[in-house]
């Protein structure tokens, strides 16, 4: 039994890592007041472009960098539509997801079935990695896992303890207040959405460069949608994003572990989504009680002369 739990935790962390990157990015985007439902599209594009670049250059690092750039650029499309053109954010985000799913299938064709030469390797931390049990459990991951964990306190700190964070949150809560004090609302939103896209791209690349590591069409399999839900579960707080991402990572692992035991695969495929509904239900009540919730201006375009 202990064996089983250890193995589950050991597997849940890498499985949750793409979700963690995606959620951290979406938390920032939504904190600025822009909902981006294009996460699934940006993740899959990150996965395919990351794989392609890593495979052709032989460098996993370059692959991840490329994925970040592609994710960021895609997010800018959404930013332009929803911030500058003031298109409905839901429509524009959904369009991005469909676009990403389509294009990734197209450009990924020739990579299907190729093993990745340049996959990310677990890093060996002298001392820690050699610990009995704990070393095996917590210190045998690749660099992106640790980077993701380190990003959590860093992004939390920026959000709550720096000028950047105060500005970002103000824009998401009351853009007219920020504008009246000379804050460039559009710039802040563009930056936040682009950052969210880069993070989603990295999350996608993690799937194809480390987790799989291979390119399979549609390999994000709804991870982007789970990110959208996790952002709410996290109550827009990076710290809770970590918890949520690993929890859902665990659920994914459970799927693989339970299937050999004869549980219906259809049922297991539903698991993350059932949990999503459950989590949204639970977190909404809790958020209401604590007087915290969605950024007040989420999904509303801002225009100075409009009243």
């Amino acid at each position: 039994m202990l064996e089983f739990i250890l193995a589950a935790v050991r597997a849940a962390i890498p499985a949750g890592t793409p979700l963690l990157y995606g959620t951290l990015g979406e938390v920032y985007a939504e904190r600025s007041g822009v909902l981006n439902l294009g996460v699934e599209g940006m993740m899959i594009m990150g996965a395919v472009s990351g794989f392609a670049v890593a495979q052709t250059t032989g460098s996993a690092g370059l692959g991840i960098l490329a994925a970040a750039i592609v994710g960021g650029l895609l997010a800018l499309i959404h930013a332009f539509a929803s911030i500058t053109l003031r298109v409905n954010q839901v429509v524009s985000g959904l369009a991005l997801t469909m676009l990403g799913l389509g294009i990734s299938g197209m450009i990924g064709k020739k990579f299907v079935g190729q093993p990745l030469a340049a996959r990310l390797q677990p890093i060996h931390i002298p001392g820690l990695s050699d610990l009995p049990i704990l070393g095996e459990l917590l210190f045998k991951f690749d660099i992106m896992v640790y980077l993701g964990i380190l990003l959590v306190p860093a992004l939390w700190f920026v959000l709550y303890k720096t000028r950047i964070g105060v500005t970002l949150r103000s824009v998401g809560e009351n853009p007219s207040a920020a504008d009246a004090l000379g804050v460039n609302v559009a710039f802040v939103r563009y930056a936040a959405v682009a950052f969210g896209g880069m993070m989603a791209g990295i999350g996608g690349a993690y799937l194809s460069i480390s987790y799989a590591p291979a390119w399979i069409e549609g390999m994000t399999a709804g991870a982007g949608w789970i990110v959208v839900a996790l952002t709410i579960f996290a109550i827009w707080d990076p710290r809770r994003a970590l918890l949520g991402a690993y929890l859902f990572g665990g659920v994914r692992v459970l799927q693989f572990r339970l299937q050999p035991l004869g549980v219906s695969p259809n049922l297991l495929n539903m698991l993350p989504f059932i949990l999503t509904i459950l989590v949204l239900w639970l977190s909404s009540g809790q958020a209401a009680k604590r007087r915290i919730g969605a950024p007040a201006a989420l999904m509303t375009a801002y225009s100075r002369e409009e009243r």
């Binding site: 000028r163 004090l181 000379g182």
Partner: protein
């Protein structure tokens, strides 16, 4: 004296400002000249273009035509950032504050001098400024925890922190209690003593006379005239604004009060924080009378009306309308039983983004002639809306305009028009004239009196004691959710009311202290 000022005296000059919106011209060649160190009042009817003109000066609106001069320099103001750089600050009527953030975070937002939060130096500077101008302030409080008056002080601090030289305030006293308003005027005098210039939009003529040095009157997008305050009177100002005499002549016919329409028995209601807001409150309102509730806002008035209209659960007591116990009824059933409701917070009863017409049918859309089975009869909607627009003189480009684009006074008129046209047997109105110009106030007061004459029972909630006294037949004073005293309005004793509003005179005490007060029935 009024014209031909040497330009060096003027710190702000607006010349020939034109600002057009689809269907309306908000400013049509408006001029304004403000001298350094003065309090300059800006007066005008609802929709005259006061807010628009100030938004032009603050860089929120781009004027279509016109010139702006600040301290002898011709300037173009593209954004609030430009205005701030020129030493201009503006406090909007709807405060621009981030509700979930702390006072400090709100004040230093947009400044480049700090990177890490919470910044000790910023806190200290805020406290220092607050002290200097005699304001109490907790820099760590969240905005949503603050009263309207305290929130306004945060707005003032935002401006002071940036070292403003010219401060624009849009109807700063509209949301304040009388005490808070007094304090504000005091702070303004302090600021001008320090050399600041204040532009002050208001509808309250007493304030103009009390605090301003000069006053500019606007009408239909143009400035009519600028006067020295000492050389004018309230009635002259009202006349200039509206273009006719405002007599505040109230057509208060004697109406025989009929049967009880509303009976509230030992009502108990909690506020949002789960604390008792209304405590064992009983009252009754009869047909053909206006029953006023006076008191400082935040003493349970909101919870009381929300409980009666079914928008808030109650924790005890009974509510009876026209002999029917509606304590357990949902809001729609209460509307059917004849309740009309004009909340103090307008957006509780209107949908900002929807057209005037769609807002006008929110209550009767399901019934003929508007509702036709599952469909709306658009022609009937048009006819209904047009007749309300005409009858209540609602000024709007057309019935398709989103209602949020109308000026404050016209939004209020539209809301009243909808509620009154339903011919309610019980009309509940909260702050019916807050933010309205003197002409509109007069109109709405007369509308309420007409309702009374028609035989409706009117429950009037007002922070404005003058209004409560002028309209009510009977008046009750509320404090901390309890009725401190109740009397016939014409026998009201102002001193007692003041004490009751502050909670210093309680029902039991009142009788013991002064047996001679007539009409005490509490």
């Amino acid at each position: 004296m009024t014209s031909a000022l040497p330009e060096s005296q003027a710190t702000v000059i607006l010349r020939g400002i034109v600002k057009r919106f689809p269907g309306v011209t908000a400013n049509n060649g408006a001029n304004l000249e403000v001298r350094k160190g003065e309090i300059h009042a800006l007066l005008g009817e609802n929709g005259a273009g006061k807010t628009s003109l100030m938004n032009v000066l603050y860089g929120i609106y781009h004027p279509d035509e016109g010139e702006i001069w600040v301290n002898g320099q011709k300037v173009t103001i593209h954004s609030p950032q430009d205005a701030i750089r020129l030493g201009i600050g503006m406090i909007h009527q709807q405060y621009r504050l981030v509700q979930t953030h702390s006072v400090t975070e709100n004040v230093v937002l947009g400044l480049k001098e700090y990177f890490f939060f919470p910044e000790k130096a910023a806190r200290a500077h805020i406290l220092e400024l607050a002290e200097k101008y005699g304001m109490k302030m907790d820099p760590d409080a969240r905005i949503w925890q603050l009263s309207a008056g305290e929130q306004q002080r945060v707005e003032i601090l935002k401006a002071l922190y940036r070292g403003v030289k010219i401060l624009i305030m849009d109807e700063p006293t509209a949301m304040l209690t009388p005490g808070e308003a007094m304090e504000l005027l005091h702070i303004l005098r302090r600021m001008t003593a320090e050399g600041l210039t204040v532009i002050f939009i208001t509808h309250k003529l007493e304030e103009v006379v009390e605090v301003s040095n000069r006053v500019t009157v606007m009408r239909q997008g143009k400035s009519i005239t600028t006067l020295e305050t000492t050389k004018t009177t309230q009635s002259e100002l009202a006349q200039l604004m509206v273009g006719r005499d405002v007599l505040f002549h109230l057509d208060k016919k004697a109406v025989e009060a009929g049967a009880d329409v509303l009976k509230v028995e030992r009502l108990n209601v909690m506020n949002d924080k789960g604390l008792p807001a209304v405590v064992d409150l009983s009252l009754d309102v009869r047909a053909g009378e206006i029953f006023g509730i006076a008191g400082v806002s935040g003493n349970g008035q909101r919870e009381l009306v929300e409980a009666v209209t079914g928008l808030r659960p109650i924790s005890g007591g009974r509510i009876i309308v026209n002999g029917q116990d509606i304590t357990q009824s949902p809001p729609r059933a209460r509307i059917k039983s004849g309740i009309g409701f004009v909340p103090g917070e307008r957006w509780m009863a209107l949908i900002p983004g929807m057209s005037v017409a769609d807002n006008m049918i929110l209550k009767n859309y399901a019934r003929p002639p508007i509702g036709n089975g599952p469909l709306l009869d658009r022609e009937a909607v048009a006819a209904h809306t047009e007749s309300l627009i005409k009858e209540y003189a609602i000024s709007t480009p057309d019935r398709h305009t989103p209602i949020k684009r109308l000026s404050g006074g016209n939004i209020q008129r539209a809301l009243l028009a909808r509620e009154i046209s339903e011919k309610p047997s019980l009309l509940i109105v909260a702050q019916p004239t807050s933010g309205l110009d003197v002409g509109a106030t007069e109109t709405i007061w007369n509308l309420l009196l007409e309702e009374r004459a028609r035989g409706a029972a009117v429950l009037l909630i007002s922070d404005d004691l003058k209004e409560a006294l002028a309209l009510s037949d009977r008046l009750a004073v509320i404090f901390e959710g309890q009725i401190m005293g109740q009397f016939a309005a014409r026998e009201a004793n102002l001193e007692h009311i003041g004490l009751m509003m502050a909670g210093a005179l309680r029902p039991g005490l009142a009788a013991a202290k002064d047996n001679s007060t007539a009409g005490e029935s509490a």
